[in-house]
């Protein structure tokens, strides 16, 4: 194809997206669109999968059967989210094995929040309430994104997320209304998860490299800073409701803007964790790699069995 032909195709493509048309897997698309989507959707899938690890840590130690079935169902949902997203990503012509390889080798990123440890039961509450809460804010606009398979996967994901946040908030509320030790445990979890949750909404607009292009392709509808403000505004009253304190001395209601002003984030910490120096980066990846490698004999055995059955069927047919 000549350069001019590609330019024409790109112009038609941009127009389709501007008109809210969806792009489907076999449609022509600019190579940059394909690569950007592979990167974003796979990062998203990896985050769902790695995100199971910090919570999986508490399934066997949940304080009651009610809490245990809820946490188990939530973690199972996250596995489902990862699978919806991997399958959406594969429609762009990348294989599942390549995607796993990128995660395992460290070439692909996942959400940094999952590199923090879950040291008490209250962390299950804080994760559901704050981490899933921030995820919902990130994800809802993606249900209207331009790439059809991604948008459809996000519709399913968003439907399932609201239970995650509610079960987390219920855990926090119960602890906050419990003994002084329980309340302290809830407050401690909020103290540790607050800032990383704000960071989940991405670098500041000034430092964000992908925003403009992503807006055009509807991978983004609002900037990171707008999303972060939305998260703060929605979460502060929730904390007040259960008598917990947001760990930010600079947090205060702004009568003029009708929004909360809040303190500076520690971006140095953010970039350190992104670069692999968070408290659990190594553990998360080694857990994933081990699960994949130790499962190899099972995958091979299942494949060998399937091939044998297939051969038998053929033999009987002759």
């Amino acid at each position: 194809m000549s350069e001019q032909e590609i330019k024409n195709l790109e112009a038609i493509f941009d127009l389709r997206i501007a008109n809210d048309e969806k792009i489907e897997p076999k449609d022509w698309m600019p190579e940059k669109y394909r690569q950007t989507h592979i990167r974003q959707i796979s990062q998203h899938a990896h985050s769902e999968i790695v995100g199971m690890l910090p919570e999986g840590n508490w399934i066997t130690r949940a304080p009651s059967l009610r809490r245990k079935v809820a946490l188990l169902a939530k973690v199972q949902d996250e596995a489902g989210h990862g699978l919806y997203l991997y399958s959406a990503c594969e429609t762009l012509g990348v294989s599942r094995e390549d995607l796993y390889e990128q995660l395992h080798s460290g070439a692909a990123k996942y959400s940094s929040i999952f590199n923090y440890p879950t040291i008490t039961w209250a962390d299950m509450g804080a994760i559901g309430w704050l981490v899933d809460g921030a995820a919902i804010i990130n994800q809802v606009p993606l249900t209207a994104t331009s790439y059809g398979p991604y948008a459809r996967a996000m519709v399913r994901v968003c439907k399932e997320e609201s239970f995650h946040q509610r079960q987390g908030f219920e855990i926090m509320m119960t602890l906050a209304n419990g003994t002084p030790e329980q309340k302290e445990m809830a407050q401690d979890a909020l103290n540790r998860w607050w800032w990383p949750s704000l960071m989940m909404l991405g670098p500041t607009d000034a430092a964000s490299v992908h925003t403009e292009q992503s807006m055009k392709w509807k991978l983004k509808r609002k900037t990171n800073d707008e999303l972060r403000q939305q998260f703060v505004d929605q979460t502060v009253p929730q904390a007040e409701l259960i008598g917990l304190t947001i760990p930010d001395p600079n947090l205060k209601w702004n009568e003029e803007t009708k929004r909360y002003d809040f303190g500076e984030l520690d971006w140095e910490e953010f970039w350190q964790v992104v670069k692999g120096h968070g408290p659990c980066n190594k553990k998360r990846i080694s857990d994933r790699v081990n699960a994949w490698e130790n499962g190899k004999w099972v995958r091979d055995a299942a494949m060998a069995y399937a091939e044998k059955q297939e051969a038998k069927k053929l033999e009987q047919a002759i």
Partner: protein, 93 residues
């Protein structure tokens, strides 16, 4: 050893409705594909029946042929009831 192949999953949400494509998954054979489809796509009563089809078995039309395939139907207004001009008095037809 070969990787598990890809399967397309179709779910009937309730009797009376058609099976609809809802996504795909990897499985070594059809039985496992059905079991995985149940776990991945019907955790909240989304279905009463599942079809799985090896993705490689699907023949799809090419978007480049779209105009050739679908445009001829566009100028055939006479295939629609509104094309026909009938008297006002004729209520239900």
């Amino acid at each position: 050893m070969k990787n598990w192949p890809l399967w397309e999953v179709f779910i009937r949400s309730k009797n009376g409705l058609e099976h609809r494509h809802c996504g795909s998954l990897h499985a070594s054979d059809a039985t496992m594909a059905l079991e995985n489809a149940r776990d991945v796509y019907t955790r909240r009563n989304e279905g009463v029946s599942i079809w799985v089809v090896p993705s490689a078995q699907i023949t799809a039309s090419d978007p480049d042929d779209s105009s050739e395939l679908f445009e001829p139907a566009k100028d055939k207004a006479y295939r629609h009831p509104t094309f026909y001009e009938l008297p006002e008095e004729l209520k239900h037809m």
